[in-house]
Subunit: 334 residues, 4 copies
């Protein structure tokens, strides 16, 4: 970590700051330029509060050289993490294909979709039971009943299940859930993250709409700091000024996260674009960029059902996407 | 609400959609253009799920004409809401000046600042007891002890107190807190909002870093839908590409929110800029743009204490800001 | 085009507006709802100035149903445009691979790179002669001399050449240039676009850092309105809040632009990421998402030369990217 | 300037880089940490190309300590610049009030508005003759005829005139124009900036929609590097995700630019918001935040004319804004 001091900083001030920093267990290197003095901090700076330093009157700017995340950092864990999930695993050489409805609506719907996506090659089933909605007047999900339906589908198909949690008080309902999803809007719900750190369940952590990759990794760090290292990162589109797409899928986040961290990275092309026609090309792009997996919304009858999301594919369209994904994966392994 | 249908939509499809919409209790007006058919929906469209309509294969785009928020909407509540808080009130003609430390650190600190900001004209005391931090390794606040210290300062100074909640399970600790703050990162923590809707405490709701004004009002709507209409909106800067300031204070949000809603709007210039030198000009700008109040961080000794945030003012600097604010307010009333 | 009128609009005002719109040659459909009146405009609304309508006191919002771009619109030109460039072509089934140095530095450098990229499969040579730089103190390019060097390389290798124009007064220097590039910062330099519309040279039009896809297509429309329909669109990353990458490559722009327009779409992964390690995965993602081509920076000796851009590949690394691209293309055709 | 080297950098590489940097006339300080080596550059680093350094394989990141702008920098020019414009001046203690129509439409319109805004206290007249429009089908302005009309209005009212240039080839038409405006879309049209640097006309330089303050100052630097130091900076709103306002007026840019630079800073609240109702509160906010002036669109008859922009005020509304502005200014001087 480097702190650049303001031109007018006195020697006395520099000495005071330097003593305080040494008392935090850091080595301090001071180098004076023609206008600015630069203080270099060597040691474990991950526990130094950057805001606190910037807040000092004498400090012009602060720059971290080493990243503030440790457990999630590839530098200290060079090999890819592989997370075991039921009869499958996420990360490394495995490719994960999660599919299912946006919302669980009824048992028949879940069972039909689960069977269809399994046949098409899905390795996990997703479905929303607790639904975060912008409006209090929109459908909020079937809650505990929805989770029960997913568990039944798991028993029949053998597919591990993924579903979202919105409140740590609901944790007891997730006992038979294989992967707990943290949604984009809760990525910095630190109280929830801490509670999930006390479990040993795999966590699928979605990037917030306006969160940087560093913040995503710091949120993973919250869970890992509690002892749960089973984290799957998920890119799902960020908020930009473009309006033709609902969000902008940040495909470059895939190779960037893989460089920064050992955690597996999957992509949700359905929510990112909000446009069923873009799901296939964006799924293929994510695979070509090195994603460890995809999470895709599938609905059994978008043509007649009124309750489908705009981004849902039919099982047949999903099967086609799965086929194309396999071709890209094969081409990349040649 | 208007739905524009795709050019190739058949009469049969239009009829099906129309019947379904009528079954939701809406009047349906169909107007056919040379290429597109437009369906106008008349009635209470606030309960129609916009995503569901966009999701239909035959629909090109959907546009709301009336806003999806009802309780927060000025159209149905033309007069400014005024929220009673202890011996003061927020909104309407009253000007609210909330001041205090970023984090509560110890009893002496809180008491000293509380006394100083009261003398300078503050009408409420703020202080963080539960602190949302990006890093799990940063200081997380004094929690219950911090709230106790604020309550003592309230008893001594008479100033009502504002502090942030991060977990609905902590609600019992907030009995003597006058205003409960929901931080920017929890603006769409819908489970927390619902719990706060079941209380009758005034809620200070901060805009999320990347949330639109419509989303802010929909989050207010979540609390109001539960029965608690005591909401104070707070603009605190949004995330943009600019890097000289930590965030970009959206001053235009003040008149825009006042046009859209009857709820009071206050501004936090300290967090928005992350730069103590910008606090005064931005506070004055907010007042000139019509804010109902300000929330400003004040620290007792930024020069020597290392734990101040970069955006904190000394009590003396705060007194100067308060004076300038009063001059602007007086000029606006002439 | 639909205009939603404010609730209090009088019948007289509606009649006046309606008459004026009819006088512009449009059919006008009026539908009155319980609160708002909606005016539907049928006919060629592309010449109606949207801002002018929004500016009227009685108008609440305006929504275009048909896009304001005509010549670039796939609706009026369903087949992919294929642009002839020297001995090659861009668009349709052809895949374009443009490679070369960021800046032309000297004859030897250009010749060496041109030979190497041709051997690796490049179909065009790029190189900057006029360089737009944020700082007036940075290297501004070799200008006319740089173009001469590119022309020599073209003669030796047979590769058509692409280079950027910054000033319409320089057009005479571009006689032997095959494709004229308009840089991101000049995407809305309308005077330059108009001049290029009067030529018949293929134009490679880069998306501005903060421009929407609609604006990109409107800038293409500027050139096409002048008679030059040889436009190649280029996505090169947009400005977002993320800081690990220089810009965020908007991969979803590829399928979206291909849906909206018949013009070919190529991608520049080098400038988008500003990070040589990300060029290969992003190039592959662009191909998998359906790009008609790639433009990649190649430098002859990044290890020793100090003048390479951060995003440049060596010829050997470029050959590896080209190979991987061909594998993805083959997999997509299976 | 500081360059942080990658952990694996060899001593030989460090020595090579160090020699090269010294050859550029800089002092080089090397400090080795436990993982990273940091190179500090002392001297005139404004001419070092930051991209070039970042591009080196051995470099992890680069951080400027001193700003890359010199002529525009307050550090080297502590006093406010005051720009003489006809019988008035911009900057320092003077307050500039520029008003006029978005587009010059005819002589009568310009004369009527010019007379009205002068009476209300305007110190300069603005009007668009060359109009940058997103669509080639929208009205492009009266061009040379428009400038003639502005010159007539100047002769009658004595108000200096401001109008936009889009092409350096038009410069001869601007002989009697007092201030030449560079629009947001041309802020990085470096060829135009260089040409304006060769004149001695005051230049009103608008911030681009997605340009940082540093980029704005670097564009000012382009003009100043050519010898013309008469620059007026203008904040006019930036592109964000918010949709209720057309752009987000960055009010914090005012105090931030005043800290970084000695150049005067004015604000255009009309274009920023795209909403006539927001012009007054945002004008007042800009004044309270320390702007040296305002530029406001005024139209003679928004109620009947169809050609007004959505953001235009009537002369009467403008007079009211001018009055409120004077009250705020007086309050700030007390």
């Amino acid at each position: 970590m480097i702190a650049v001091l303001k031109p007018q900083t006195s020697d006395k001030q520099i000495e005071n700051l330097s003593s305080w920093l040494k008392a935090q267990g850091l080595d301090v290197h001071i180098s004076k330029g023609s206008t600015h003095t630069v203080i270099g901090l060597v040691g474990d700076t991950s526990k130094i509060d950057e805001d606190l330093l910037i807040g000092l009157d004498m400090v012009e700017t602060v720059k971290r050289i080493s990243e503030p995340f440790k457990s999630a950092n590839r530098k200290f864990h060079p090999d890819d993490s592989v997370i075991s999930v039921g009869n499958t695993s996420v990360g490394g050489k495995d490719f994960t294909l999660i599919a299912g409805p946006c919302s669980v609506e009824n048992e028949e719907q879940v069972m039909e979709i689960a069977t269809a996506v399994k046949a098409a090659g899905a390795t996990m089933l997703r479905g929303g039971a607790f639904k975060p909605r912008t409006s209090p007047y929109d459908f909020q999900g079937l809650k505990a009943d929805g989770i029960e339906m997913l568990i039944k589908a798991k028993k029949v198909t053998g597919l591990p299940i993924v579903t979202e949690i919105m409140n740590a008080n609901h944790l007891s309902l997730f006992d038979e859930v294989d992967v707990i999803q943290v949604g984009a809007r809760n990525m910095q719900n630190f109280e929830l993250l801490k509670e999930l750190g006390r479990t040993n369940k795999p966590i699928l952590l979605k990037r917030g709409l306006a969160n940087t990759l560093k913040e995503l990794l710091m949120s993973a760090e919250y869970i890992m700091a509690g002892g749960n290292e089973n984290i799957i990162l998920c890119e799902r589109g960020i908020r930009t000024f473009e309006t033709y797409t609902r969000n902008t899928l940040d495909v470059s986040a895939i190779p960037m996260l893989r460089e920064l961290s050992h955690l597996p990275v999957i992509v949700d092309p359905s929510h990112a674009t909000g446009n069923a026609k873009l799901v296939k090309p964006m799924a293929m792009a994510a695979v070509a960029a090195g994603a460890h997996g995809l999470m895709i919304e599938v609905h059994n009858d978008p043509a007649h059902a009124l309750c489908d999301g705009p981004q849902s594919l039919t099982p047949a369209a999903f099967a086609e996407v799965a086929m194309s994904v396999r071709k890209i994966l094969a081409a990349m392994e040649e």
